[in-house]
Structure formats: C-alpha cells, structure tokens
C-alpha cells in the first residue's frame, strides 16, 4: 500500500497537478539567482556561486510549503481504511523524492563548480534530507519562528563567505559534520511531532479587528483606496494544511519591513563591501539581487491584485466596471510606491538615480500592466481559503512571461545603464515609456469586459 500511495502522490503532484512546478515565480528566481553568480564566478569567493540559489531554495522550501497533508488528504484520504502512518509516510517519502529531483536538477550545476560533482551530490542529498525533516520538525510553529530558525541556519551556512571555519559549507573543513548534526536534531524533533500529529486547527470565529475602517459617502476612489491601503487579503499558509490564513496587513507594517530591508541594503553596499577584496563584484551582486527581489515582489504583487477580489460585488456596487477597476489599479500602484519608497531613498543616497526612478515610477506603473495581463489571460482566485491551483500550462507560462516583460525591460535598462552607458537619459526614457503602456489599461473598456467574462467563465466570482 505504501508503494501504491507514493506512486499516486508522485503522479498527482508531478505529472497531473505539477504542484512542484506551480510557482513559476520561484523557478524564475532560482534560475536568475543562480545563473548570475555562476557566470560571474570569482575564485576568491567560490561560496558566492551557491549562496543565492541556496538562500532562495532553502527559504522557500522550509517556510512556505509547511503542510505534510493537504486539506484534500485530510478530508478524503484519511477516511480510507488505510493506516494513518502509511498515509503520512507515503506523503513524506513522495515529497522527499520530488524535492530531491528538483534539488539535483537545479542545484548540482552550482554546487559542482565549488565542490565537484560527487561531493555536490552528497551535499545536495543531505540538504534535501535536512529540508524534508525540517518541514516536519517545525510544522506546528508560527511562521515568524520558522523564518527566524531558517534564517539563523542560513546565516550559519553562509558565514563561510566571510571565512567562518565552522560553517557547514566552509571549504576549510569537511561539510558533513555540521549538516549531519542538524539532520540528527531535526530527525528527533520530526519523530516526536509525527507521533502526535494534529490534522486540524479549529479556526472558529476569528478575533475582532481592533481598528475598523470607516467608510463615508465620499468619492468612490477614496473608499476603494481605503480598502486597498488597509488590507492585504490572504497572506501566509496555514500551519497544518495547504490553506491560506486571512490576516490584515496594514501598509505601515509593509513599509516597516521594506525600511529594514532598505537599511540592510544600504549598510551592505556602503560599509561591508569595503572590507572585502572583491568589493565591486559583491556590491554589484547585492544591487542586482535587490532589483531582482523587488521585481519578483512587484510581479507577485501585480498577480495578487484580483486573487481575493469578489467580482460579484462589482454588480452590487453601482459603479461602472472600468471605473471600479481603474480605482483599484491606481490605489494598488500608489500603495506599491509607498511600500518601495525606502528603497527609492536608499538608491538615491547610493547614487543609483536610474534605479531609483525605476522603483519610484516604473515599478508602480508596471503593476497595472502585470495585473491587467494576468487578469485577462490567466486569472486566479482564492476561494474558501484554499490555495488556488496554478497549473503550469503553455498559456500560464506565456502569460507569466508577458506580464514580466515590462519589469524585465526596465531592469535590463538600468543594469545596462549602470555597466555601459552611465547616464540618466536611458532609464528616464524607459520609465516614461512604461507609463502610457500601463496607463492604457486604465481606460480600456473592451479589454476589461473580456477579462471579467473570461474570469467568470473560469469559475471566478
């Protein structure tokens, strides 16, 4: 039965649902993140080649997919006359196999450059065991605790960059003892958790919201703006099942987070690089990754605009369809500008005026373009708190690439400008051009009528 279940899980997750590939954004991040240091390989800092793909992969796999069993598993599979341990075991083993396939495919090229092929495979297998065990060992912790533990482990791994000899990835000693110790620790925690596995968290009636938003008979834009600024919809995933947790995140919280990240960026670029021999290379990498990080945020922000937007209330709002959508898109663009403002300030302080212009103007306008393309060709909606199934299809891939195009061009322009042209003119032209390209969607009635029709046909309401 165990073998049958594993086969079923693998088939369902990989060949039919393609769950492991569902997040196209992550694949793009792994690819872009890994390829750049690989191409710019510096012999004095080999650990840099694996650091960025490792960060991206480790964090996304230890923090985000926190469930062992999905809601459907709990609702239906657990009702079958099969031992619970067999079901959970099958799930864990199939997850491990998929993760290992993914890790070997994406990580071996980078690791082999540093450790050689054989040793890379050993490290990657150990890392996969670590990630799989960590998911189970920490499944019932709150997200911020998981983030803290994962970040601490990563800092320990990557302390090899500054020559810390006891890092588990340090080249001065063998890598295995550190990893083996961690694996052993998580193994004991995982066994303990599995013997007392909880399937459900009873959500009950949620806590009351402390500060209510008050709506008055003002202009519709003001009221829609209030909604956009005060709520962030579905965030995070449930601790136990693949369901979203509904939480309101105010823009002030997001600004606080982006301020901290911007300050870290400023400190890294301004001070830390001075103490490293390869400061220009390191500084450029940090700059590039900051842009990529922001652009991936812009992309997911744009894609998320309508995921929790009840379309049926468009009918009950007595506002014109295009007017309603226009107000939402403009509000979201303003919100993004406010969130990214700390980065704009820091980029100006570090003399990156072209990039500052792109973050301040190009990125907010790009969200209008991204949202419009995504909504028209590949709309997704969160319903009943269950993660939307984002199947990897030719259509979704093309839509993803098309929606990313504008941001990609803007980043390409500022990076090229930084390396070759070193003038503000090129970013200025690119950003000014991006405004009408995006703004046209604010007034395009036929486009939105087709988009809503398509979304409703796909079952979004």
């Amino acid at each position: 039965m165990l073998g049958k279940l594993i086969k079923l899980y693998l088939y369902y997750n990989f060949f039919t649902n393609k769950k492991i590939l569902k997040s196209l954004t992550f694949i793009a991040i792994y690819f872009l993140a890994g390829v750049i240091p690989y191409l710019l390989y510096v012999k004095s800092l080999p650990i840099l080649v694996i650091s960025i793909p490792l960060i991206a992969f480790y964090l996304t796999n230890t923090i985000l997919p926190t469930s062992i069993l999905s809601k459907s598993d709990i609702d239906f599979l657990l009702m079958l006359p099969i031992e619970e341990k067999t079901i959970i075991g099958a799930r864990i083993l199939s997850n491990f196999i998929l993760l290992l396939l993914f890790m070997v495919t994406f990580m071996v090229p980078y690791f082999s450059k540093v450790y050689g092929i054989l040793q890379s495979i050993v490290i990657i297998v150990l890392l996969t065991i670590l990630i799989s065990l960590q998911q189970i060992a920490l499944y019932n912790l709150r997200v911020h605790l998981k983030v803290l533990i994962s970040v601490l482990i990563l800092v320990w791994f990557l302390s090899a960059i500054i020559g810390f000899p006891y890092s588990s990835l340090s080249l001065s000693i063998r890598v295995y003892p550190g990893l083996a110790g961690l694996i052993l620790l998580f193994f004991f925690l995982a066994v303990r958790n599995l013997s007392n596995y909880k399937y459900y968290v009873v959500q009950g009636v949620g806590r009351e919201v402390e500060k209510n938003i008050s709506f008055t008979l003002s202009h519709p834009f003001i009221n829609i703006f209030k909604v956009v600024m005060n709520g962030s919809g579905f965030v995070g995933v449930s601790r136990l099942t693949s369901t979203y947790v509904i939480k309101r995140i105010r823009v002030s919280t997001l600004v606080a987070i982006s301020s901290i990240l911007a300050i870290i960026y400023y400190i890294l670029v301004s001070y830390l690089v001075r103490h490293l021999s390869t400061n220009h290379f390191f500084s450029f990498l940090i700059y590039l990754y900051s842009l990529l990080f922001m652009s991936s945020y812009v992309l997911s922000y744009g894609h998320g605009t309508f995921t929790s937007q009840p379309l049926w209330l468009l009918v009950n709002s007595s506002i014109d369809l295009v007017e309603y959508i226009r107000y939402i898109l403009i509000s979201r663009a303003i919100k993004l500008f406010i969130i990214l403002l700390p980065f704009v300030i820091v980029l100006i302080l570090t003399g990156q005026y072209g990039s500052a212009l792109t973050v301040a103007l190009g990125f907010p306008f790009s969200t209008i373009y991204i949202t419009s393309i995504e909504m028209r060709f590949n709309p997704i909606q969160v319903r009943e708190q269950v993660l939307p199934t984002n199947m990897l299809t030719f259509r979704s891939l093309i839509t993803f690439l098309l929606s990313f195009l504008l941001v990609l061009v803007l980043i390409g322009v500022v990076v090229l400008n930084m390396i070759i042209f070193k003038s503000l003119l090129l970013p200025l032209i690119a950003n000014i051009t991006s405004v009408p390209i995006s703004a046209v969607f604010l007034f395009w009635r036929d486009f939105w009528e087709r988009a809503i029709n398509n979304a409703v046909e796909r079952g979004l309401i």
């Binding site: 009636v205 938003i213 709506f215 009221n223 009840p310 009918v315 709002s317 007595s318 014109d320 708190q385």
Partner: protein, 240 residues
Amino acid sequence: MVVNDCIVVRNVVKKYDNLVALNNLSFTIPCGGRYALLGPNGAGKSTTLKILAGLLKPDYGEVYIMGHKPGSVEVKRVMGFLPEDPLPYPNLTVRENLEFIASLRGIPNVKDKVEELMELLDLKEYEKVLTGKLSRGNRQKLSIALAIMHEPKIVLLDEPLNYLDIPSQEKVISLLKKMNSTFLISTHIMSIATRLTDHVIVIAKGTMVWEGTIEELRLFSKEEDEPIESIVSRLMENVR
C-alpha cells in the same frame, strides 16, 4: 419609457469552449414577478444569472433588464445579485464590507443602514470579525445583506438559503417576501421556490422546458398527494 417586462432573455446561446451551457434560451419576467429558476445540475441556471448580472456575455441573443443592457450602470443601480457560494471581501470585517458597499452605492445614512441590516440578520456580534473568518452561514447572511441593502428593483439570487440554519432561513424568507421587487431565484429546493415565488421556469440542457405558475405545476400531479419535487423531477427527466 414604460417597461412591462423587467427581465427579457431572447434566444440566448452561451458556450464554454465546446460545452453548450445555454441553447437558445428565451423567457421574460414581468415587473414585480416572482420567479424560480429550476433545473438539474448543469442545466445552465448559474450561467443564466451571471449573464443577467452582466458578469458573462452571451455568445448570441439579447438580454434586457428594465430595457437596459446587463452590466450597465443603469442596471446596477436597480439590481441586487447574489451568486452561489459568495465570498465578500475576506480582509474586511462584516461592518466594513457593509459600509464599503453602502457608500459605493451612495446609500444615505450609511451607518444607520448598516446597523439595521446587522440587527436584522443577527450579524451584530460579528461586526468586527474579518469576513474570511466567518462561518459559511454568517458569510451567506452578510452576502444577502450586501445584495439587497439598496432595496433593488431586480433581485437575482442563486441558492440564497445555502448554509443558513432554520431561524436564519425564516428571517431571510420574511425579509425577501416584504420586498416589492422582481425576483429570479435559482434553487434546487422546492420549498424555497414555493415560499418565495409564484412562478417557475424550468430549464434543462440550456433550454427552457416549461414555464408557469406553481398552481399550474401542481396540475401535473399523477396522484392527489404527489409532492411537487416529484412533479419537477418528472419534468426534468423527460428532457434527458
């Protein structure tokens, strides 16, 4: 302009890729009429309501709501629409959802109206709870309140009593019965149809197969005590 028929559906065809959801569907509902839309699963009931609400465009045919095209601002002003399994803004509280839509509708005395609706539907104790964290029943009550808060002249409801407990069902039925609107209610439950409406439109495979009053429907009974569900079932079976 005097309009006698508040809802006009004429020769409507709607396809989802190769699947024909509506096939030359035609019916009219006079202003003030209370109609139930019945049909088996996949008959096209929800598609019909979404087309009337302006959320879907028909591939062919004409639809008019009080003489206007669905989706126009003129129609939105007078229409209330409740889809099946509705989800209001999950990251807004009950009160905020009501205030938000009320203010967008331009309803005077927003706060008073919201208070009234919350009292009416027993939502007061959840006013500060995020909608996404409500039980399905309370979410349904909130959705009904959002759909009818402006006392619409045209009311489109898709399974309005889903998830409601019996006292809540009675409250909603009483609330809807007091309204002098034109109703089109899609439902599978005949007791709802008989209590909220007096006319029935039966559709199957996207086409209207019967229309008439509930009394006329009862005339089809083979035995004296034949339940109305059995009669409707026979009507639908005949089309399959």
